[in-house]
Protein backbone atom coordinates (compact mmCIF):
# COMPACT_ATOMS: atom_id res chain seq x y z
CA UNK A 1 0.00 0.00 0.00
CA UNK A 2 3.00 2.24 -0.44
CA UNK A 3 1.68 4.57 -3.11
CA UNK A 4 -0.79 3.01 -5.49
CA UNK A 5 -2.56 6.34 -6.13
CA UNK A 6 0.45 8.42 -6.92
CA UNK A 7 -0.21 8.23 -10.63
CA UNK A 8 -3.17 10.56 -10.23
CA UNK A 9 -0.97 13.58 -10.18
CA UNK A 10 2.06 12.30 -12.00
CA UNK A 11 0.89 10.44 -15.06
CA UNK A 12 2.11 13.17 -17.37
CA UNK A 13 5.27 15.17 -16.93
CA UNK A 14 3.86 18.25 -18.65
CA UNK A 15 1.13 18.42 -16.00
CA UNK A 16 3.58 17.73 -13.23
CA UNK A 17 5.60 20.77 -14.06
CA UNK A 18 2.50 22.86 -13.63
CA UNK A 19 2.30 21.68 -10.02
CA UNK A 20 5.40 23.71 -9.47
CA UNK A 21 3.91 26.77 -11.08
CA UNK A 22 3.89 28.90 -7.99
CA UNK A 23 7.33 27.89 -6.83
CA UNK A 24 8.69 28.56 -10.30
CA UNK A 25 7.26 32.05 -10.31
CA UNK A 26 8.86 32.70 -6.96
CA UNK A 27 12.22 31.45 -8.21
CA UNK A 28 11.98 33.65 -11.28
CA UNK A 29 11.27 36.63 -9.09
CA UNK A 30 14.19 35.98 -6.79
CA UNK A 31 16.68 36.05 -9.66
CA UNK A 32 17.75 32.42 -10.10
CA UNK A 33 18.04 32.80 -13.85
CA UNK A 34 21.83 32.60 -13.90
CA UNK A 35 21.81 29.38 -11.97
CA UNK A 36 19.34 27.89 -14.39
CA UNK A 37 21.42 28.91 -17.38
CA UNK A 38 24.50 27.27 -15.91
CA UNK A 39 22.92 23.93 -15.13
CA UNK A 40 22.18 21.63 -18.08
CA UNK A 41 18.39 21.44 -18.32
CA UNK A 42 18.27 17.76 -19.24
CA UNK A 43 20.07 16.45 -16.20
CA UNK A 44 18.75 18.79 -13.56
CA UNK A 45 15.68 17.90 -11.58
CA UNK A 46 14.91 21.27 -10.08
CA UNK A 47 11.34 22.37 -10.72
CA UNK A 48 12.66 25.65 -12.03
CA UNK A 49 14.57 24.12 -14.92
CA UNK A 50 11.92 21.54 -15.66
CA UNK A 51 9.38 24.32 -15.91
CA UNK A 52 11.56 26.34 -18.27
CA UNK A 53 12.19 23.36 -20.51
CA UNK A 54 8.52 22.44 -20.77
CA UNK A 55 7.10 25.91 -20.96
CA UNK A 56 6.27 25.99 -24.73
CA UNK A 57 4.52 22.63 -24.46
CA UNK A 58 2.71 23.87 -21.41
CA UNK A 59 1.33 26.95 -23.13
CA UNK A 60 -0.29 24.82 -25.81
CA UNK A 61 -1.63 22.53 -23.10
CA UNK A 62 -2.97 25.51 -21.17
CA UNK A 63 -5.13 26.73 -24.04
CA UNK A 64 -6.47 23.24 -24.72
CA UNK A 65 -7.12 22.62 -21.03
CA UNK A 66 -9.00 25.91 -20.72
CA UNK A 67 -11.18 25.08 -23.71
CA UNK A 68 -11.95 21.64 -22.29
CA UNK A 69 -12.93 23.16 -18.95
CA UNK A 70 -15.06 25.81 -20.68
CA UNK A 71 -16.91 23.08 -22.57
CA UNK A 72 -17.53 21.06 -19.41
CA UNK A 73 -18.67 24.15 -17.52
CA UNK A 74 -20.90 25.38 -20.36
CA UNK A 75 -22.86 22.13 -20.54
CA UNK A 76 -23.30 21.95 -16.81
CA UNK A 77 -24.28 25.62 -16.54
CA UNK A 78 -26.85 25.18 -19.32
CA UNK A 79 -28.30 22.13 -17.57
CA UNK A 80 -28.96 24.26 -14.48
CA UNK A 81 -31.04 26.91 -16.26
CA UNK A 82 -34.36 25.01 -16.42
CA UNK A 83 -34.12 24.15 -12.73
CA UNK A 84 -33.61 27.82 -11.89
CA UNK A 85 -36.83 28.62 -13.70
CA UNK A 86 -38.61 25.86 -11.79
CA UNK A 87 -37.23 27.14 -8.47
CA UNK A 88 -38.42 30.67 -9.22
CA UNK A 89 -41.84 29.36 -10.15
CA UNK A 90 -41.97 27.08 -7.08
CA UNK A 91 -41.01 29.96 -4.80
CA UNK A 92 -43.78 32.11 -6.27
CA UNK A 93 -46.26 29.26 -5.80
CA UNK A 94 -45.14 28.83 -2.18
CA UNK A 95 -45.93 32.50 -1.54
CA UNK A 96 -42.40 33.91 -1.46
CA UNK A 97 -41.86 37.41 -2.77
CA UNK A 98 -39.42 38.03 -5.61
CA UNK A 99 -36.95 39.52 -3.11
CA UNK A 100 -37.16 36.42 -0.89
CA UNK A 101 -36.76 34.04 -3.85
CA UNK A 102 -33.76 36.00 -5.09
CA UNK A 103 -32.38 36.04 -1.55
CA UNK A 104 -32.31 32.25 -1.53
CA UNK A 105 -30.59 32.02 -4.91
CA UNK A 106 -28.06 34.76 -4.11
CA UNK A 107 -27.16 33.99 -0.51
CA UNK A 108 -27.94 30.33 0.11
CA UNK A 109 -27.04 29.27 -3.45
CA UNK A 110 -27.64 25.56 -3.15
CA UNK A 111 -30.22 24.21 -5.59
CA UNK A 112 -31.64 21.20 -3.79
CA UNK A 113 -31.61 22.87 -0.37
CA UNK A 114 -33.53 25.85 -1.76
CA UNK A 115 -36.13 23.55 -3.27
CA UNK A 116 -36.52 21.63 0.00
CA UNK A 117 -36.92 24.73 2.15
CA UNK A 118 -39.37 26.42 -0.20
CA UNK A 119 -41.41 23.26 -0.64
CA UNK A 120 -41.72 22.80 3.15
CA UNK A 121 -42.63 26.47 3.60
CA UNK A 122 -45.26 26.17 0.87
CA UNK A 123 -46.76 23.13 2.57
CA UNK A 124 -47.08 25.13 5.78
CA UNK A 125 -44.09 23.51 7.51
CA UNK A 126 -42.42 25.16 10.50
CA UNK A 127 -39.43 27.47 10.28
CA UNK A 128 -37.30 24.84 12.03
CA UNK A 129 -38.25 21.98 9.72
CA UNK A 130 -37.65 24.08 6.60
CA UNK A 131 -34.29 25.36 7.81
CA UNK A 132 -33.07 21.99 9.10
CA UNK A 133 -34.07 20.13 5.92
CA UNK A 134 -32.35 22.80 3.85
CA UNK A 135 -29.19 22.74 5.93
CA UNK A 136 -29.02 18.93 5.98
CA UNK A 137 -28.89 19.00 2.20
CA UNK A 138 -25.87 21.29 2.39
CA UNK A 139 -23.85 19.23 4.89
CA UNK A 140 -22.11 17.68 1.91
CA UNK A 141 -20.51 21.10 1.32
CA UNK A 142 -18.26 20.24 4.28
CA UNK A 143 -16.83 17.32 2.32
CA UNK A 144 -16.66 19.41 -0.87
CA UNK A 145 -14.65 21.93 1.14
CA UNK A 146 -12.08 19.33 2.16
CA UNK A 147 -11.71 18.21 -1.47
CA UNK A 148 -11.41 21.74 -2.88
CA UNK A 149 -9.48 23.45 -0.05
CA UNK A 150 -5.94 22.82 -1.45
CA UNK A 151 -7.00 24.29 -4.80
CA UNK A 152 -8.79 27.37 -3.46
CA UNK A 153 -5.72 29.37 -2.56
CA UNK A 154 -5.82 33.05 -1.69
CA UNK A 155 -6.23 35.42 1.23
CA UNK A 156 -8.86 34.45 3.81
CA UNK A 157 -11.49 36.70 2.30
CA UNK A 158 -10.78 35.37 -1.21
CA UNK A 159 -11.20 31.83 0.12
CA UNK A 160 -14.41 32.87 1.85
CA UNK A 161 -15.74 34.43 -1.35
CA UNK A 162 -14.83 31.34 -3.42
CA UNK A 163 -16.54 29.14 -0.81
CA UNK A 164 -19.87 30.76 -1.61
CA UNK A 165 -19.67 29.10 -5.06
CA UNK A 166 -19.35 25.63 -3.52
CA UNK A 167 -22.11 23.52 -5.06
CA UNK A 168 -22.32 20.10 -6.75
CA UNK A 169 -21.54 21.51 -10.20
CA UNK A 170 -18.53 23.67 -9.33
CA UNK A 171 -17.02 20.92 -7.17
CA UNK A 172 -17.65 18.32 -9.87
CA UNK A 173 -15.91 20.33 -12.61
CA UNK A 174 -13.12 21.39 -10.25
CA UNK A 175 -12.44 17.96 -8.77
CA UNK A 176 -12.44 16.38 -12.25
CA UNK A 177 -9.22 18.24 -13.11
CA UNK A 178 -5.86 16.72 -12.24
CA UNK A 179 -3.91 19.69 -11.10
CA UNK A 180 -4.61 22.23 -8.35
CA UNK A 181 -4.60 25.38 -10.50
CA UNK A 182 -6.97 23.79 -13.01
CA UNK A 183 -9.14 22.55 -10.17
CA UNK A 184 -9.42 26.11 -8.99
CA UNK A 185 -10.07 27.36 -12.52
CA UNK A 186 -12.73 24.75 -13.27
CA UNK A 187 -14.37 25.36 -9.90
CA UNK A 188 -14.52 29.12 -10.46
CA UNK A 189 -15.68 28.97 -14.10
CA UNK A 190 -18.46 26.48 -13.34
CA UNK A 191 -19.34 28.17 -10.03
CA UNK A 192 -19.60 31.69 -11.43
CA UNK A 193 -21.44 30.44 -14.52
CA UNK A 194 -24.01 28.57 -12.47
CA UNK A 195 -24.33 31.49 -10.02
CA UNK A 196 -25.18 33.96 -12.78
CA UNK A 197 -27.51 31.62 -14.67
CA UNK A 198 -29.18 30.32 -11.51
CA UNK A 199 -30.04 33.82 -10.33
CA UNK A 200 -31.24 35.08 -13.71
CA UNK A 201 -33.45 32.04 -14.20
CA UNK A 202 -34.79 32.25 -10.64
CA UNK A 203 -35.94 35.77 -11.44
CA UNK A 204 -37.37 34.68 -14.79
CA UNK A 205 -39.18 31.74 -13.21
CA UNK A 206 -40.69 33.84 -10.44
CA UNK A 207 -41.88 36.55 -12.82
CA UNK A 208 -42.90 34.58 -15.91
CA UNK A 209 -43.35 30.85 -15.43
CA UNK A 210 -45.65 28.80 -13.27
CA UNK A 211 -45.58 25.24 -14.63
CA UNK A 212 -42.06 24.88 -16.01
CA UNK A 213 -41.74 21.36 -14.56
CA UNK A 214 -43.34 19.94 -17.70
CA UNK A 215 -40.83 21.69 -19.93
CA UNK A 216 -37.92 19.99 -18.17
CA UNK A 217 -39.31 16.48 -18.49
CA UNK A 218 -40.54 16.96 -22.06
CA UNK A 219 -37.08 17.98 -23.24
CA UNK A 220 -35.38 15.28 -21.15
CA UNK A 221 -33.31 17.96 -19.42
CA UNK A 222 -33.56 16.15 -16.09
CA UNK A 223 -31.09 13.63 -17.57
CA UNK A 224 -28.53 16.36 -18.33
CA UNK A 225 -27.32 16.53 -14.71
CA UNK A 226 -26.80 12.74 -14.34
CA UNK A 227 -25.06 12.60 -17.73
CA UNK A 228 -22.75 15.46 -16.77
CA UNK A 229 -21.78 13.78 -13.49
CA UNK A 230 -21.10 10.50 -15.30
CA UNK A 231 -19.01 12.28 -17.94
CA UNK A 232 -16.90 13.91 -15.24
CA UNK A 233 -16.47 10.56 -13.50
CA UNK A 234 -15.60 8.66 -16.69
CA UNK A 235 -11.84 9.38 -17.03
CA UNK A 236 -11.27 8.16 -13.45
CA UNK A 237 -12.79 4.75 -14.13
CA UNK A 238 -9.68 3.48 -15.94
CA UNK A 239 -7.83 3.22 -12.61
CA UNK A 240 -8.77 0.20 -10.43
CA UNK A 241 -8.73 2.00 -7.04
CA UNK A 242 -10.78 4.87 -8.46
CA UNK A 243 -13.17 2.43 -10.13
CA UNK A 244 -13.68 0.45 -6.93
CA UNK A 245 -14.30 3.70 -5.06
CA UNK A 246 -16.84 4.88 -7.63
CA UNK A 247 -18.74 1.58 -7.62
CA UNK A 248 -18.79 1.42 -3.82
CA UNK A 249 -19.80 5.07 -3.49
CA UNK A 250 -22.58 4.68 -6.05
CA UNK A 251 -23.91 1.54 -4.33
CA UNK A 252 -23.86 3.15 -0.88
CA UNK A 253 -25.83 6.12 -2.21
CA UNK A 254 -28.29 3.88 -4.06
CA UNK A 255 -29.00 1.72 -1.01
CA UNK A 256 -29.52 4.76 1.23
CA UNK A 257 -31.88 6.70 -1.05
CA UNK A 258 -35.10 5.15 0.33
CA UNK A 259 -34.03 5.37 4.00
CA UNK A 260 -31.91 8.46 4.52
CA UNK A 261 -33.00 12.11 4.28
CA UNK A 262 -32.13 13.78 0.97
CA UNK A 263 -28.48 14.79 0.81
CA UNK A 264 -27.30 12.07 3.21
CA UNK A 265 -26.78 9.37 0.51
CA UNK A 266 -24.33 11.65 -1.33
CA UNK A 267 -22.52 12.41 1.91
CA UNK A 268 -22.35 8.74 2.92
CA UNK A 269 -20.96 7.75 -0.49
CA UNK A 270 -17.61 9.13 0.67
CA UNK A 271 -17.23 5.94 2.73
CA UNK A 272 -16.79 4.19 -0.62
CA UNK A 273 -13.15 5.26 -0.45
CA UNK A 274 -12.62 2.29 1.88
CA UNK A 275 -13.28 0.02 -1.10
CA UNK A 276 -10.13 1.27 -2.83
CA UNK A 277 -8.12 -0.39 -0.08
CA UNK A 278 -9.71 -3.79 -0.69
CA UNK A 279 -7.24 -5.98 -2.51
CA UNK A 280 -4.79 -3.14 -2.97
CA UNK A 281 -2.29 -4.81 -0.60
CA UNK A 282 -2.17 -8.00 -2.65
CA UNK A 283 -2.41 -6.37 -6.08
CA UNK A 284 -0.21 -3.41 -5.39
CA UNK A 285 1.83 -3.93 -8.54
CA UNK A 286 -0.90 -4.73 -11.01
CA UNK A 287 -2.85 -1.83 -9.57
CA UNK A 288 -0.57 0.74 -11.04
CA UNK A 289 -2.67 1.88 -13.95
CA UNK A 290 -1.82 3.17 -17.36
CA UNK A 291 -1.92 6.95 -17.73
CA UNK A 292 -5.53 8.02 -17.67
CA UNK A 293 -7.31 9.13 -20.79
CA UNK A 294 -9.48 12.18 -21.06
CA UNK A 295 -12.64 10.95 -22.67
CA UNK A 296 -14.69 13.85 -21.39
CA UNK A 297 -12.61 16.63 -22.86
Amino acid sequence: MSRPHRWIHSSNSAWRCGDNERRRTLNDASGLRTERALSPPVTTTSPDATGARLRPVNEVDDAARKRAIHRQAASIVASVAPFGIVFGAAAATAGLSLVQAMGFSLFVFGGSSQFAAVEILGDGGSIASAAIAGLLLNVRSLAFGVIMAPALVGTWWQRAAMSQLMIDESTAVGAAQHEQRWRRYGYLVAGIGVFVVWNLTTMLGHVAFAGAGDLITELGLDAAGPAAFLALLWPRLSSPPQRRTAIAGGLIALVLIPFAPPGVPILASMLGVAAARIGSQSTDRSDRPEPDTEAAS
Partner: protein, 102 residues
Protein backbone atom coordinates in the same frame (compact mmCIF):
# COMPACT_ATOMS: atom_id res chain seq x y z
CA UNK B 1 -40.31 39.23 9.61
CA UNK B 2 -42.02 36.47 7.67
CA UNK B 3 -41.24 32.77 8.10
CA UNK B 4 -39.53 32.65 4.72
CA UNK B 5 -37.19 35.51 5.67
CA UNK B 6 -36.19 33.80 8.93
CA UNK B 7 -35.50 30.53 7.07
CA UNK B 8 -33.53 32.49 4.47
CA UNK B 9 -31.31 34.10 7.12
CA UNK B 10 -30.73 30.87 9.06
CA UNK B 11 -29.91 28.95 5.87
CA UNK B 12 -27.62 31.70 4.56
CA UNK B 13 -25.51 31.69 7.73
CA UNK B 14 -25.56 27.89 8.15
CA UNK B 15 -24.81 27.11 4.52
CA UNK B 16 -21.94 29.56 4.38
CA UNK B 17 -20.42 28.02 7.49
CA UNK B 18 -20.63 24.56 5.88
CA UNK B 19 -19.22 25.76 2.57
CA UNK B 20 -16.32 27.78 3.94
CA UNK B 21 -15.18 25.46 6.75
CA UNK B 22 -12.78 23.52 4.50
CA UNK B 23 -11.16 26.41 2.62
CA UNK B 24 -10.94 28.69 5.68
CA UNK B 25 -9.76 26.14 8.25
CA UNK B 26 -7.57 23.93 6.07
CA UNK B 27 -6.49 26.58 3.58
CA UNK B 28 -3.83 25.32 1.17
CA UNK B 29 -1.95 23.53 3.95
CA UNK B 30 -0.61 20.26 2.62
CA UNK B 31 -2.43 17.25 4.02
CA UNK B 32 -0.59 14.14 5.28
CA UNK B 33 0.07 11.66 2.43
CA UNK B 34 -2.44 9.12 3.75
CA UNK B 35 -5.15 11.75 3.99
CA UNK B 36 -4.24 13.10 0.56
CA UNK B 37 -4.68 9.61 -0.93
CA UNK B 38 -8.17 9.46 0.52
CA UNK B 39 -8.98 12.96 -0.72
CA UNK B 40 -7.79 11.98 -4.22
CA UNK B 41 -10.32 9.16 -4.21
CA UNK B 42 -13.25 11.12 -2.77
CA UNK B 43 -14.34 12.73 -6.08
CA UNK B 44 -14.87 9.28 -7.65
CA UNK B 45 -17.26 8.26 -4.87
CA UNK B 46 -18.90 11.64 -4.93
CA UNK B 47 -19.41 11.86 -8.71
CA UNK B 48 -20.78 8.30 -8.82
CA UNK B 49 -23.22 9.11 -6.01
CA UNK B 50 -24.32 12.35 -7.69
CA UNK B 51 -24.92 10.49 -10.96
CA UNK B 52 -26.91 7.72 -9.25
CA UNK B 53 -28.98 9.94 -6.95
CA UNK B 54 -29.86 12.39 -9.72
CA UNK B 55 -30.86 9.47 -11.97
CA UNK B 56 -33.05 7.34 -9.69
CA UNK B 57 -33.71 9.60 -6.68
CA UNK B 58 -36.77 11.80 -6.31
CA UNK B 59 -36.25 13.09 -2.78
CA UNK B 60 -38.15 10.29 -1.06
CA UNK B 61 -37.25 6.99 -2.70
CA UNK B 62 -35.95 5.20 -5.76
CA UNK B 63 -37.82 5.93 -8.99
CA UNK B 64 -36.86 4.15 -12.20
CA UNK B 65 -37.90 6.28 -15.17
CA UNK B 66 -36.67 7.63 -18.50
CA UNK B 67 -33.70 9.32 -16.80
CA UNK B 68 -32.09 5.88 -16.52
CA UNK B 69 -32.29 5.50 -20.32
CA UNK B 70 -30.58 8.87 -20.57
CA UNK B 71 -27.78 7.76 -18.23
CA UNK B 72 -27.22 4.55 -20.21
CA UNK B 73 -27.17 6.58 -23.43
CA UNK B 74 -24.60 8.90 -21.83
CA UNK B 75 -22.51 5.87 -20.90
CA UNK B 76 -22.57 4.61 -24.49
CA UNK B 77 -21.68 8.06 -25.80
CA UNK B 78 -18.74 8.25 -23.38
CA UNK B 79 -17.61 4.77 -24.35
CA UNK B 80 -17.67 5.95 -28.01
CA UNK B 81 -15.45 8.85 -26.85
CA UNK B 82 -17.89 11.53 -27.93
CA UNK B 83 -17.30 15.09 -26.66
CA UNK B 84 -18.79 16.26 -23.37
CA UNK B 85 -21.47 18.47 -24.93
CA UNK B 86 -22.61 15.68 -27.24
CA UNK B 87 -22.88 13.31 -24.28
CA UNK B 88 -25.29 15.71 -22.56
CA UNK B 89 -27.39 16.18 -25.71
CA UNK B 90 -27.53 12.41 -26.36
CA UNK B 91 -28.68 11.78 -22.78
CA UNK B 92 -31.40 14.45 -22.93
CA UNK B 93 -32.61 13.33 -26.35
CA UNK B 94 -32.75 9.66 -25.30
CA UNK B 95 -34.75 10.59 -22.22
CA UNK B 96 -37.16 12.82 -24.15
CA UNK B 97 -37.65 10.14 -26.82
CA UNK B 98 -38.32 7.46 -24.20
CA UNK B 99 -41.02 9.64 -22.65
CA UNK B 100 -42.48 10.39 -26.08
CA UNK B 101 -42.94 6.74 -27.05
CA UNK B 102 -43.92 5.34 -23.64
Amino acid sequence: MSDATVVLIVMTVGTFALKSAGPLVLGDRALPVRVQQVVDLLPAALLAALAIVSTVGDGRGIVIDARLVGLVAAGIALWRRLPFVVVIIVASAATALTRLIS
